[in-house]
């Protein structure tokens, strides 16, 4: 059990001629909650997309449970236990909430397990149970995020990657989602979280990586980073007490 759930080594990636990620190295241990913080354009989303094989990797290595999956397909990453809740949620808007959740279990053959996990997601976010027949596009922003997280969980992942949990949501919704995420994590699912709300992220996570212009500039226990004056200055505007 020494192999990290996810290990990214010296990763370089980008779009066409524009390189976004420079020698990014990070890891997530089994059951751990790790967050990536950084300003807009730092490469957080690109990093997640590269891990999910949506963006081609030009150099470096991505491994899941010690197995090299560099240059795999998105489907192989899902099969390896890595589910990705993309930025902007990307729900299937004209599909029902229930069908969206079932799409998350697309690769799974175990009907009984899928039904069981559907109930678990409904228990985690009761709002989704109430609205399961509704089109996902008609949900409020917070409910959509619940649906997106639930859809990710339906793959029964061992690592859940979430690109922006709280962006644009009401504080009450953020609390519900953060609470849900803690419960998921407590059941042993590792979480890799990208979050613009640095305070919130550092509060949730065990460890954090700071990404700046495509490079990891700082990493360590989240609690330590939260006390780092440079971090407070750069990302919290010095306001947080």
């Amino acid at each position: 059990m020494d192999a990290p759930k996810l290990s990214v080594t010296q990763l370089q990636a980008g779009y066409g001629d524009v390189q976004v990620l420079w020698d990014v190295t990070l890891d997530v241990k089994p059951g751990e909650m790790v967050c990536i913080v950084g300003s807009n354009g730092a490469g957080k989303t690109t990093l997640m997309r590269a891990i999910s094989a949506l963006v081609p990797v030009s150099a470096g290595r991505i491994a899941v449970d010690g197995a090299d999956l560099t240059g795999a397909t998105p489907a192989r990453m899902v099969a390896a236990g890595v589910a990705h809740v993309p930025e902007g949620r990307r729900l299937f808007g004209a599909m029902s909430v229930r069908d969206n959740l079932l799409m998350g279990a697309y690769l799974r053959p175990d009907k009984a397990g899928i039904a069981e996990d559907l109930e678990k997601v409904y228990a985690l976010f009761p709002r989704l149970a109430e609205r399961q027949k509704q089109d996902a596009g008609t949900l409020s922003g917070g409910e959509q995020q619940m649906c997106a997280v639930g859809r990710g969980l339906m793959a029964r992942p061992s690592l859940l990657m979430i690109d922006e949990l709280s962006l644009g949501l009401a504080p009450r919704m953020v609390d519900l989602l953060a609470d849900g995420l803690r419960r998921v994590n407590a059941e042993g699912v590792a979480v890799l979280l990208v979050e613009q709300d640095v305070m919130n992220a550092l509060e949730l996570a065990d460890r954090a990586f700071v990404l700046d212009r495509g490079r990891v500039t700082l990493s360590g226990p989240a609690a330590a980073l939260a006390d780092d004056p440079a971090i407070r200055e750069a990302y919290m505007g010095g306001l947080a007490g």
């Binding site: 999910s52 949506l54 397909t73 998105p74 489907a75 899902v78 099969a79 589910a83 990705h84 993309p86 990307r90 729900l91 299937f92 808007g93 004209a94 599909m95 069908d99 079932l102 799409m103 998350g104 697309y106 690769l107 859809r151 793959a155």
Partner: protein
């Protein structure tokens, strides 16, 4: 009472038009590919039915399944081997690709089967149905019922099967679908195959009504276009509504203006609709 007859003719025609168009609409809606091969796929389905009847005595109502399966295989290969290579390119590129492929397929059919019109002459036609003042040719009605059943079957597949959900997911958001583990290229090929299946099956059903010739492919393609614009692109109910609407327009147009103006009328309405309501009668929503 003549109007009832014209109405009935229009409905029968409309059921067939829906089957002609639904595969074309599926491919356009999901893959954003305007498949100019569609008309030739229909004609090829007709030839499968023709030869199956001529050599093996298989009734076109049964060989519709064979024609559909054969065309599914052809469509799958065309998408997997060729169209998938340029699927991300602008729509004009895929349009030119299917245009070129259609030239090849259509001329190959001309070479193999000649431009002569052939017809399936059923040994045991169903005769005609009399419903009060309305006369309906039994074979046409049966073909229409089968066409509706096939279209309804496609609807169920898209709505209730795992593959169907994946097709709809790809239509809505290809990248999000990929993140669910959907093999988008495979779904593309299956979708193109399903479109070709519907074309082949519709072609087989049409073989007992229309003369068969490679020259008819552009006629069928034109109808598919009109039905899609009338009903709205990208849904089975849209294709059904569009098909029935076109059938009624042509039927009443032929009655009032003379049969020689039926096609002119349908294309005129197409133009008006493109100006007034480009999203179609039902408008655009998810594909199901």
């Amino acid at each position: 009472m003549i109007y009832l007859q014209v109405l009935a003719n229009g409905l029968v025609l409309g059921g067939l038009y829906a089957a002609i168009a639904v595969g074309f609409s599926l491919v356009w809606g999901v893959l954003n590919v305007i498949n100019l091969l569609h008309g030739s796929f229909i004609v090829l389905g007709s030839y499968v039915a023709f030869f199956a009847y001529a050599y093996f005595g298989i009734h076109p109502f049964l060989s519709a399944g064979i024609a559909g399966a054969a065309l599914f295989a052809l469509g799958y290969v065309v998408q997997a081997g060729l169209v998938n290579r340029v699927i991300a390119a602008p729509v004009l590129i895929t349009l030119i690709l299917t245009f070129g492929l259609d030239l090849i397929l259509n001329n190959a059919m001309l070479l193999a089967f000649s431009a002569d019109y052939r017809k399936v002459n059923l040994a045991h036609p169903l005769g005609s149905l009399e419903l009060g003042p309305i006369f309906l040719p039994g074979d046409r009605v049966a073909a229409m019922v089968l066409a509706f059943l096939l279209t309804a079957l496609l609807y169920r597949v898209l709505r209730d099967s795992r593959i169907g959900r994946a097709i709809i997911a790809v239509r809505m958001d290809r990248e999000a679908a990929a993140l669910m583990g959907v093999d988008v290229k495979r779904i593309n090929a299956i979708t193109f195959g399903l479109g070709a299946f519907m074309a082949g099956a519709a072609g087989a059903l049409l073989s007992i009504i229309y003369p068969i010739s490679p020259l008819n492919s552009s006629l069928f393609l034109g109808k598919a276009f009109v039905v899609c614009v009338l009903g709205g692109l990208g849904s089975v109910p849209g294709a059904m509504v569009g098909g029935v609407a076109l059938g009624l327009i042509e039927s009443f147009g032929a009655y009032w203006l003379g049969p020689e103006h039926a096609i002119t009328l349908s294309f005129s309405i197409l133009l008006v609709l493109l100006f007034v309501r480009p999203s179609g009668i039902l408008g655009k929503r998810g594909y199901e």
